[in-house]
Symmetry: C2
Subunit: 163 residues, 2 copies
DNA sequence: CTGAATATGTTATAATGTTTCAAATTTTTT
DNA sequence: AAAAAATTTGAAACATTATAACATATTCAG
């Protein structure tokens, strides 16, 4: 497996997913957090897509599992997963995506392709540094950064129309 | 008037608002865009708060004007104002705020105080540069950046509880 | 085992945003 | 100025996203 998977390049995504689940189990164990079946299933569903999944998309998937869940079930699971750094919420899309840097302390930055919908998460220390500098130079104490870049991924620049 | 108003410092905000409206009229004229009464009123309402206003907050204000508007009226006005760079949408809050750099080409960056709710818009060229670099180094063509920092403004760090 | 804490189920509802089509207004053209 | 075209607004219904409140079940700690 490469150091970092690139969503818009073909790769064995099942491996990504199962690795993410393994990581999650390990992380939760370390933090004494309970990765219950529902939470794990929600994480799995989110990971199975490189495109962010809305809460109601997750809900629909659960329904097709035969699990007749209500919205709070999903939102609770998502809250849990967010709090433990296993998924990120993309504010500009009202959707969620698996964190590719789970366990590492990081400030995510998301490249969102408006054509194919895929999202790449980056950690760009130089960006974080500049953001922090800009904030502190205004006397502002930064706690949480939302950084989402919409545009075109390399693949969609070349040949538009990918889904 | 100082070069840049600081929301969490006292200042003559009425002057801010009327200047913003003057600017808006000028900008729209230059762009052959129609700043109709509704649009202007929505802009005014948004400017009267340093805190971002939700679409339904605007709707409520219009209602107390006696203007019985429906949601699409507000959303259309907000779309117009956004398209002409007069307001920004804060994705992490589902809310809108007057643009303090209207007319200037810029990439906004928002410092959002979680205690008092005030928002300061900055343009930090060094941040924009680093963001662009990070994106292009992934072959990504950036079009639109959402950059929102939640935290504590100077005033709320010192004495909490401001509204 | 028992009580406390945590997690889930369930119903209802709130908050945010859009679709659609009709009517009015403004602009452009004739 | 009148007609045609484009733009803006009105209005009703609906879609999507998210939360509140309370009951039940499960897990954990002593």
């Amino acid at each position: 497996m490469p150091a970092r998977a690139i969503p818009y390049r073909p790769h064995n995504h099942d491996a990504c997913v199962s690795q993410a689940l393994d990581d999650a189990r390990r992380i939760c164990q370390r933090q004494n957090a309970r990765l219950t079946p529902i939470r794990e299933r929600v994480l799995e569903l989110i990971w199975q897509s490189h495109k962010p999944l809305g809460a109601y998309d997750v809900l629909a998937e659960l329904a097709s599992d035969g699990h007749n869940a209500a919205p709070p079930t999903v939102y609770r699971a998502l809250d849990f997963l967010q709090q433990h750094g296993l998924v990120h919420r993309i504010a500009s899309l009202n959707a969620f995506i698996g964190c590719t840097h789970a366990g590492q302390s990081h400030t995510g930055m998301f490249l969102i392709c408006r054509a194919c919908g895929n999202v790449l998460e980056l950690t760009a220390p130089s960006v974080s540094t500049e953001v922090r500098r800009a904030a502190t130079s205004e006397g502002f104490q930064a706690e949480d950064t939302t950084l989402e870049i919409a545009g075109l991924c390399p693949r969609c620049q070349a040949e538009p129309g990918h889904e």
